[in-house]
């Protein structure tokens, strides 16, 4: 690989542009490809397969062709509602797990910059906050306030937008009440049952980092189930 190409890759990474590095393993030639853009003659014939790797969010060698594709795809958006203690640990875990975190909390004293350095916190109510975040079925929601005023509107948004993972903190009793409110609001039992509540896999721990670990583990598991 040429040094100029390495520099270009680093530039694309820092601007979070989705791209792929395609390499011909037979002659060592490589090229940077952005979806929708054209490729040189060398690689153009493989465009369909390259796009397919993008679609599957995968790296690999095209079958029976010595062409290696390495894709760089934007991480999954994870929206946390509640800038609470557990969220601080979730942010730490998420950094090394390729999730892109946004935190929503209308309570200013929780959402302070000091508690979450280098982290953009949306200090608004969920309905307002979601106007700033583009969401779809590739998103995940972690509701941590167990305050219906804050969690419920976010859960409703996530259900309507068919987030692939929705989890809500709270005891079984809290969750039963939450389910009843969502039922009253017109959500189907299928939708309501898709919510992971109480959130997380059973690890047995009770401390904030342990709960964060149990939540992030469940999120990773659900991400690979898709």
């Amino acid at each position: 690989m040429k040094y100029t190409q390495l520099k270009e890759i680093i530039k694309k990474k820092s601007s979070k542009t989705e791209f792929a590095i395609v390499t011909n393993l037979k002659n060592g030639l490589s090229e940077i490809y952005e979806p929708g853009k054209s490729l040189s003659k060398e690689f153009e014939i493989h465009k369909e397969q390259i796009d397919n790797f993008f679609k599957l969010k995968k790296n690999g060698v095209i079958e029976k062709k010595e062409i290696f594709i390495e894709t760089y795809i934007r991480p999954i958006k994870v929206i946390i509602v509640g800038a609470v203690h557990i969220a601080q640990y979730l942010v730490d875990f998420a950094k090394s797990l390729n999730f892109e975190i946004s935190i929503i909390d209308p309570r200013g004293y929780f959402a302070s910059e000091q508690r979450f350095p280098d982290m953009k916190i949306i200090n608004k109510w969920p309905d307002e906050a979601f106007k700033e975040i583009e969401t779809n079925e590739n998103c995940a929601l972690i509701a941590l306030t167990h305050d219906p005023k804050i969690d419920d509107p976010a859960l409703q948004h996530a259900l309507n937008k068919k987030f692939y993972y929705i989890g809500a903190l709270g005891s079984k009793k809290t969750h039963e009440n939450r389910c009843q409110r969502l039922k009253d609001a017109g959500f189907s039992s299928n939708q309501i049952n898709s919510i992971h509540g109480p959130i997380g896999i059973k690890l047995g721990g009770r401390s904030a980092p342990e709960i964060a670990l149990s939540i992030i583990s469940q999120l990773v598991a659900e991400t690979y189930k898709r």
């Binding site: 390495l6 680093i10 393993l25 995968k58 060698v61 894709t71």
Partner: protein, 111 residues
Amino acid sequence: MKNSFDEKILEEANDWINANQKVALATVIQTWGSSPRQVGSRMIVNEKGDFSGSVSGGCVESAVVRECIDLIKKNKPYKKIEFKVSNESAWEVGLACGGEIAVYLEQIIEK
């Protein structure tokens, strides 16, 4: 598996080059069976044998380092190597996990 925008191994390679070191990239391009690191996993190696990142769970790194040094010394642009479970081939190292991996080595060509 896709690659992460946050992984900083290529940035580290750039730092090494800026410190006038010669650098080879080693990338896992194919895996069979139970290999520990996914396709796209990468390590970087300089001409002295310093390395960062990984291509396996520590099973084949030493051989990859040797191959990378060789690549740099002979000034070859690239090379593909495969590691299997047994040690019968030229490799004295193998994957204890029973997997197989193919690793693509390439030198970063001078500025």
